[in-house]
Assembly symmetry: C2
Homo-oligomer: 221 residues x 2
DNA sequence: CCTACCGATCGGTAGG
DNA sequence: CCTACCGATCGGTAGG
């Protein structure tokens, strides 16, 4: 049986590059083609699972879409469960990607606005990835759970802080930060259920979300 | 084979009572026990599909939870697909239930607030039903689609109108009604993904949503 | 509402 | 990356 490389690593741009281990490496790094092909498989699987659902979408469907035999997928991926993990990890990576940068923005109002726009852009930009993430996240196997949960927390915490600061600065009402963060997250994220790129416009949706939360008129009752 | 009754009718309180057909009825109406038992099956199936997903959750699981044999479920339900329909139809029925009443509220601000509170209460009150509804709605068979889509449209339209009126009355910013409605719907509905009744409080969540959208402070930039 | 029982699908592996 | 092939699961039906 051929030796395969670190199948688990999601090869994300925001991932730290693999540390060079001491001594002579046993194997060369996975070839560029290998990585590219695996990314193709991940993306295609996301589309299949998006359309048919994780369980109903078969590896046969994925293989067919790639003009492969089903067994060949196992050269790149350990199992169907592993494939689900790779999709979810990638989705989280995308969402987390520019967030650190935005966290540094000094103005609370601008920061919240940027977070909202970022979320809308990210979700509507990768509907398949995020549909799989949100609708099949609970089908993740135990072994993968921990790795995901970590990044997930980082994400929610970032949102929590933005909302807290916005409340402090008085740019939004005095809401419970946790509920406020989830509400804003929901308002934008929900788009994965209804947004139709042939009809809807992400920037206008973002405008509406921002206006609803930040551009306010009536004084409190 | 025994004759069964109208398996499709969801026996919802807001459903019009079945019209009395002319002539002598062929069969008495389904017994109260029959209806009650079927509702039990629907509720249990919702819990199973909530925990394991629609495809991964088996009829065996449902039967076991009810202390039945799997085959017995078919006395109440045509198929697994039919069971999914019954759950989804029930969820929509619950959501639609009090909505007509609230539509009559004259004050735009109060009406929007009531809609928001109603949505939070409904979703958090039936997590299993609504998780199945939102996460497995696309696995509905063709034959059931139409019946669902209709009610669904009614729901979205009601929200559309509330938002339109709120914009006109100037109680929220001038947002695109469609995006505004989906944003508010998302803000509240999203709770089915994270709300934990042992830790969270539905009324406070509703407060936060209302405050975020309606109780505003800063003037538009 | 139950006891069998069938048919089909599908993830995964051997071995090249 | 492919050709077989196995094993298990599961929805559904017959017949009572």
């Amino acid at each position: 049986m051929k030796v395969r490389w670190d199948l688990d690593s999601p090869s994300q741009p925001n991932e730290a590059p693999a540390k060079r281990r001491p001594g002579r490496p046993r194997l060369e790094a996975p070839s560029q083609e290998y990585i590219a092909r695996r990314d193709e498989i991940i993306a295609t699987a996301a589309e299949v699972f998006h359309q048919k659902g994780y369980d109903a979408g078969t590896l046969e469907d994925v293989a067919e879409a790639l003009d492969l035999r089903r067994a060949s997928i196992y050269y790149y991926v350990r199992s169907k469960a592993h494939l689900l993990f790779l999709i979810i990890d990638r989705a989280l990576g995308l969402a987390l990607d520019e967030l650190d940068e935005y966290t540094k923005l000094p103005d609370p109002r601008e920061r919240l606005e940027t977070f909202i726009r970022h979320q809308v852009r990210t979700i509507t930009g990768e509907p398949s990835m995020f549909t799989v993430f949100f609708d099949h996240r609970l089908r993740l196997e135990q072994e993968y759970e921990a790795r995901i949960r970590d990044k997930e927390r980082r994400y929610v915490r970032a949102y929590l802080k933005v909302v807290q600061d916005a409340v402090k600065a008085g740019v939004i009402g005095k809401v419970d930060p946790r509920y406020g963060a989830q509400a804003i997250l929901g308002m934008t994220t929900w788009s994965y259920k209804w947004f139709d790129p042939t009809r809807d416009n992400a920037d206008r949706l973002a405008d509406s979300c921002v206006k609803l939360v930040l551009d306010n008129l009536g004084a409190p009752a």
